[in-house]
Amino acid sequence: MYERIREKLGILADAAKYDVSCASSGSNRKNENKGIGDAEGAGICHTYTEDGRCVSLLKILLTNHCIYDCAFCVSRRSNDIRRAAFTVEEVVELTMNFYRRNYIEGLFLSSGIFKNADYTMERLVRIVKKLRQDERFNGYIHLKTIPGASDELLREAGMYADRMSINLEMPTERGLKLLAPEKSHSEVEKPLKYIQNNITQFESEKALIKSVPKFVPAGQSTQIVVGATTESDKEILYTANAFYRNFSLKRVYYSGYIPISYDSRLPVIGSQPPLIRENRLYQADWLMRFYGFKVQEILDDLHPNLEIDVDPKLGWALRNLDRFPVDINTADYHMILRVPGIGVGSALKIVQARRFNRLHENHLRKLGIAFRKARHFIRYADSPMQLKEYEAGHIKNLILSEGKSKYQSNPDNQLSLF
């Protein structure tokens, strides 16, 4: 008995780990029924895997049987691997017992597709319903939408889940068609739109009637695989940007492709996942969501790819030196946000502190900005006299030579062997 459940968990957690979403925040589900769990406010990472990714949810597949044969997926039909499937009760019991021990914030449930979309989706719905109704579970539930499932099932799922998501997989239709001829982006857009419409509808009803139940309170997300096909960063970010706009997504995740297949259309097994590229995409994504950058400012036809050696904010600043230097003591908040080395928190502190004193170098250093990087782009009360204007390449070299970039020691992103 012990061994069977351990084996299933091994197989079905292993197959789910390539889904990078791990957020457990953004919901508003409170423990109001003296039940168990609380999904209000910020999520908690309970541990981190040895590759440094956060573990906040029990991330599993219901089954890794699948009728599809997508080249990038471990669970693809033609892959010769062990298969397993959880029962509804097993998933509920695992979730509850992990949650009660404070291992997790909730459940991330995805699935391979057995028989057909509705058959699979119906089982996913039974699990979340049981958790919410029988177990009075108020923890976080992220449910994967099964493409092609009926509207009724999607709507029911949304009554119990905190977040729903459906992966775009490849950044463009062209890339997706190459690796998964049976799939298309429009197949993803339809359920995203349906859930989005329902969220809007529930919200407008909520304004009128207090007792409207929650519907996907933490919104929707998606995932784009990076590096399996040849799309540029521009294509990736423009797709993300369009999905943020058209479907009000909460997050787009970028997943550096890890070769798991001998398929000739894909990078060979053993080649390194593009970790730096993935990191740069997340940085660019943050610039769009929290720093007020437009996607066109970050990438265009002249610069279709993010630089590897500098982060996208620094890259933008170096291309736009005419916007600098920024006077810390007078510039408006949004421009301070654009200074490389100044984050959202320190930008806010700067604006607050300068009401009391003109800010000097020592203040700025203590406020926690990356001064060595920022100093090239700012003026402050005791700025040194600048005799000549430096050009972008010179500043970049100065920053790179002073910085301790974690990427410099291993430019090929080789693993260090301690």
Partner: protein, 255 residues
Amino acid sequence: MELYIFDGSLEGLLTAVFECYTRKSKIIKLVGQAHYVPDVFDAGFHVVSDREKGERVWKGLCAKLGKEWQLRFYQAYLSERPEAFQHLLNFARYVIDRPAGASENYAHPDVLAISQTARQVHREKHRMEAFVRFQKTGDGIYYAHIEPDFDVLPLVSEHFENRYADQRWIIYDLKRKYGLYYDLEKTEEIELGAAPQLSVVNALPAGLLDPKEELYTLLWQDYFKTTNISARKNTRLHVRHVPRRYWKYLSEKQR
């Protein structure tokens, strides 16, 4: 400069602030009883903790500080750091002497120090919310112990009450020798007569545990292992997020 010695309590610290004003002291060095080494030349002034004086100072502070800063003040106190006590005293005097809003002056050394210390304490609180690993005992109580860097138990009780409203639990601070016990109604501070014996894999000896506990520890360890992607191995990142000093309390790190 005058030397003030206080008993280390929050009440004592607030009383010290009160005494600064009644004694018209200019510059104070505040030291806790525990760190005080008597000096032949400077006897120092012994602050006698006084509830009423303390409350007056706290009220005065609250009138000048928003909710967030009131919490920061308390968090910084829970850091148990001698230098934080000094900053708190200076900060309190600075805020009381000025119009409301002075606490936003992050260029002021005491303001900055308190906000930074509070942040460290807040992070430790957050880590404890993350790293507590309950074990179900034979009598159905979920038990965990911790050794936080700062005295954060008072800060975490609400979090666990909200979350685990339908199960009884104990979180015990081995370093400070007290814990929280939630009995389905309320949370109380408790002291355990004999601290439970530690074993490596399980925090509690197997005899005290629910028969299923071993299975869930195993499943959790399995899960931790299988969810890792070895092609992305990044030990530096892992250790930055899960500092080694916490490993001994994390069941997933025991194999």
